[in-house]
Symmetry: C2
Amino acid sequence: MSFEQLDDLNKTLASLDHAMSILGADEATNMPEGGGDERAEALSTLAGMRHEQASAAHIADWIADAEAEDLTADQKLGLAEFTRLYNNLTCLPPAFVRRQSAAKMRCEQLWRTLRPKGDWDTFAKSLENVVSLVREEAQMRSAASGLEPYDALMEQFDPGNRAAEITPVFERLKSELKDLLPQVTEAQNKRLAENPPKKLQGPFSVANQRALGLAVMSPVGFDFNHGRLDTSHHPFCGGVPTDVRMTTRYREDEFLQSLLAVLHETGHALYEQGLPRENAHWPQNHARGMGIHESQSLFVEMQISRSPEFWTWVRPLINQHIGENALAGWSDADILNLVNKVEPGFIRVDADEVTYPLHVILRYEIEQALIAGDMEVRHIPEVWNDKMQDYLGLSTHNNMPDGPMQDVHWSAGLFGYFPSYTLGAMMAAQQWAAMEKQIPDAKQQIAKGEFAAINTWRKDNIWSQGSRWTTPELMTRATGEPLNPDYFIAHIKRRYL
Amino acid sequence: MSFEQLDDLNKTLASLDHAMSILGADEATNMPEGGGDERAEALSTLAGMRHEQASAAHIADWIADAEAEDLTADQKLGLAEFTRLYNNLTCLPPAFVRRQSAAKMRCEQLWRTLRPKGDWDTFAKSLENVVSLVREEAQMRSAASGLEPYDALMEQFDPGNRAAEITPVFERLKSELKDLLPQVTEAQNKRLAENPPKKLQGPFSVANQRALGLAVMSPVGFDFNHGRLDTSHHPFCGGVPTDVRMTTRYREDEFLQSLLAVLHETGHALYEQGLPRENAHWPQNHARGMGIHESQSLFVEMQISRSPEFWTWVRPLINQHIGENALAGWSDADILNLVNKVEPGFIRVDADEVTYPLHVILRYEIEQALIAGDMEVRHIPEVWNDKMQDYLGLSTHNNMPDGPMQDVHWSAGLFGYFPSYTLGAMMAAQQWAAMEKQIPDAKQQIAKGEFAAINTWRKDNIWSQGSRWTTPELMTRATGEPLNPDYFIAHIKRRYL
């Protein structure tokens, strides 16, 4: 049976993915520097083998034959998702993939050396080449899928997301946030006038911070029989669902950043650990995409962990693991003022919950124009500056490192990826609202450190659904309505006004 | 060019080996228990891919073509070693390999559950099946290689080793050690009467013991840019030459076992780290075999680390990392009496340097008889008991767990492997003697913690030679003469009489 051949193939691919995930996590957490070259060689060989196995021409026949076979409903969903991935992999000619991959690698390397110098002109030449190849890619993906070119790019990260639906949502969000920002600042100033900002008094030992992280992860739902917490330069969540490799980083002058990173990554980890275990090698049982994944990390980091109730629960754990003096004299309001500080800034990754979407929308608008050919790379600095002035009141004129050179994404050919961050934030707010309808005392449960009911809702509605539905379908099934920015906007108003 | 095709193949195989080695080390040091099933699946898939790639029929043509190509001397050595490995892999029919592999796995599983119960009769039935298949294997390997059946088995672990040469060496060693043992015991009793045995007073924290291990590893030669020290249930040295994963284990009531395990594994690690880096993916640049590898670990553990001079150097490090009280009141003689304690016992892995070879020779004699068909599995307990009585004065009558059921090797189909342990011990003593002729003050250097000159000798003569020569050739080139048991016997007399 062809379905069985596909089953074997998926087992092989899952094993290769397992190896690459664990080797990647090991590289970031354990590998001595001198092991890097051979590790890169090994990973590249495995990736090549994976690509060769996953894109072989005979798979098209297996798919066609399997479609005619007597399959269960679940097998049909799996076959459809597998077919989507196969088409994604094979709709570009191998020679084009190699050419594009070399261009992206060169541009990424240039980005690393040129960003610190702010040398936009040299960088732009290389980025022009990447953009031109991504335009070609978008055309080819469009031709293969029947989607609009930009949608065909987004489809790889968040299947089912369409610019025609996202743009009005982002327009609404942009206009609300631009209006809200001065009000948020004013409200914040008033709060800070009542409660002048406090500063943490370190040093806080790494061992204590790690103990706190571990003490928080378990109740929040992390399964240490299927995962672990390590340290890396940048926090990440990697590994495989049965062995999630999560990391954080530590600084000794404060401990909240590490704790919040732990909570963000725990959100990703819960999703992976909560995916269906049966037939885990089939893609309908993999995580849906970047946007839903981000919604799961932000659900924990933003909806749960930056709420007053969370700090009611976690303060005794801080006293226990960091020490009684860590927050001596701090009111709950002091803590919330610190972790929910809003301040427009240049850098997306450092942005708070209120301004972050404006960074994303800026990039979404620019990258759409680039793909459509309505704009060229050379126009980016000016457009970037105009939008930063408009959205956040900040000038990036002649400041390339803090402006259009701050992200690696475009150099790496990642277009259609940025929206996922903010879609994730909106979806998390909407999921919270839907969950709270079922569990009206969810906040009180959090104050008691009880996450079981909340996680059951999330497992039933999100995690267990894997990749059975497109991103919009999954949201509608989970929350009863399509993506609706009202939930996020209401959340922002509740928290910050 | 066919040589280039082989070069590409070796790169692929090296990448797969890299992945399997790191995943294996990760499994023993980091993996949460719940990740085990999928890890086993991934490793088995990678092993299958490796086997398929390394044993493909077209490789025989590549080898034949490459032999006619214009190759450098080093390429010729590489091609010869590659061919040897290819023949080793392909001389057994795949169906036989699968059948044997299933039998070995069943027998290993039975061993795990039956050893604690001492249920020899049930175990023996399964072992009979393994032995019968290993006999078949030996015949097939013999037919393919022209070697005697038992030699054809040893050839996989120590190329060039022949029973006709090893047996007289082992006979000599056995007779010497049997004679020496009462004298050693008497001399030891005299020493202990003068210096009554002392006991370490714990607890010794794991963190301190780890710090001591790290402090010792660097000067002894371990390169932390290409390796690390972790903790595992059983100490091992894994990973790859550019990223050696070494482990030890800790108990809190004493710290010397962990330190000596660190030193043993550091010996393995230095060999891996000292292998040629250029064309590291070709097999002539891999470690030679089990015997030479064991000689490198025992060179550090036995020749260097159990010498008086070593403790002169290491005592201040113990005071620094474990504490001034760790060995307060201990003379150097007290330490040496403890680490060099000789005591005949049932268990090979717990045996001291003097009695260990007798455990090995016992197994060597039995497994040769089993492969030759001169003996059956049902005879093992009686023969084992007779030999234990004869060699070590101990009875294993009706004591299967401490007798013939103590090792996993035979269940796993490993016949021809045991001699490597004692060959390694003898080779280490012979290497030490050859090195000391070049570096007459080697012991004084050790007392000062200077290992550079000693390691240069080892790198030049052993590590850099990779798999360019058979085990006996390598020894002759390094030490100027073939394996000679006099060096080990003299070493034992010097240390223990």
